[in-house]
């Protein structure tokens, strides 16, 4: 460990601890997750960066949205995100969460992830290479050092905005307390 690291650690031990233990919620949304197995296994070995897949949202603090997000998945993503403990970071992975990607005119996938969740960073590309994930992790470290990876705070401050957007397309989410009424529609 070099001397600068010691200073940083003394300045904020919590930040130092959090940034080297980014535990990814093992939640696979789209095709992007095909890049995750090589990343976490021996070829690229994400554990060098302190990145580990975690089985439950209660143990994770980094949420990779890997690929297109259909409406059904968005409900699960919001539910998972709400369960994660602070501090938590969201990274959109691939071009689909950014602006819809190749699903830009699809009727069942969302186009802008940051309307529904606060996103700390984006990885562009379709698909991004595993190296891009590590670049994102290093960027996230720098953001944590500077104290600007504050998506979870923005979520609390602007919750009205996010909730309005979420409610607009997913009015049936359990957290909005609606009763299931759509059985047998279309028939």
């Amino acid at each position: 460990m070099d001397r600068e690291e010691i200073l940083k650690m003394l300045k904020s031990p919590a930040n130092w601890g959090q940034k080297y233990s980014l535990w990814v919620v093992y939640f696979c949304t789209g095709c992007g997750v095909i890049e995750i197995p090589p990343v976490i296994t021996s070829r690229w070995d994400a554990e060098r960066f302190g990145v580990l897949p975690m089985a439950t949202p209660r143990q994770g603090n980094l949420f990779l949205i890997t690929g297109y997000v259909s409406l059904k998945t968005l409900g699960a993503i919001i539910r998972t995100y709400d369960q994660m403990p602070d501090p938590k970071y969201v990274v959109g992975f691939g071009s689909c969460p950014v602006n819809g990607g190749m699903y830009w005119d699809s009727y069942n996938t969302i186009k802008h992830l940051d309307k529904y969740l606060p996103v700390d960073g984006w990885i562009a590309g379709c698909m991004p290479r595993p190296e891009a994930i590590f670049m994102a992790v290093v960027h996230l470290w720098q953001m944590i050092d500077k104290g600007i990876a504050t998506g979870y705070k923005r979520y609390k401050e602007n919750y009205g905005y996010y909730e309005r957007n979420q409610r607009e397309i997913l009015p049936h989410l359990a957290k909005f307390g609606r009763v299931e009424t759509t059985a047998g529609r279309n028939s």
Binding site: K72, D105, I110, H112, V119, I169, H172, A183
Partner: protein
């Protein structure tokens, strides 16, 4: 059984069925809506035990939906495409699920995506789409881009 024998058997067994042999091992059978299930029963009895898919085509200009049942016989190595047409207004037909149990799932999907009602299918509930409120999305007169504009919008994010 050869393609020609099968052609004869179908045309004798099903009313108003027209059969063409497209090439070796491929038959196209066109039946009216009422004869579809009896044609399926006939074909199943002749060894067509694999219903590999039911597909639906929206012929908007002609005002019709076309259902295509893809059947395969392992013994004869023949692929039969059983085609039938439904009116686009209030499309209804009889389910194939008593003949092929797994047809239930195919029909459920067609019901969701095209709004075709299969009488007798016990499970025409929402399937792949989550709480869908709009018209069936795979119909050709469904304006996807307008729907996307209305539903997801293009508002820039609140951040920065």
């Amino acid at each position: 059984m050869s393609e020609e024998d099968l052609k004869k058997a179908i045309e004798q067994g099903v009313d108003a069925a027209t059969t063409t042999v497209q090439k070796k091992g491929r038959l196209v059978v066109t039946v009216p809506k009422a004869g579809a299930v009896s044609a399926l029963i006939l074909l199943k009895a002749r060894g067509f035990e694999h219903l590999s898919a039911i597909s639906c085509t929206d012929w908007l200009e002609q005002g019709e939906f076309e259902l295509v049942y893809h059947l395969w016989s392992y013994a004869d190595r023949i692929h039969v495409m059983l085609k039938t047409r439904l009116p686009r207004e209030n499309p209804r037909t009889v389910t194939a699920s008593p003949v092929f149990r797994h047809a239930q799932t195919y029909e459920r999907e067609i019901h969701e995506m095209y709004g075709v009602h299969f009488e007798g299918n016990p499970r025409l509930t929402p399937f792949l789409l989550d709480h869908w409120q709009g018209p069936p999305p795979m119909r050709r007169d469904f304006d996807t881009r307008q729907y996307v504009q209305d539903t997801f919008g293009s508002i820039p994010s609140v951040e920065e």
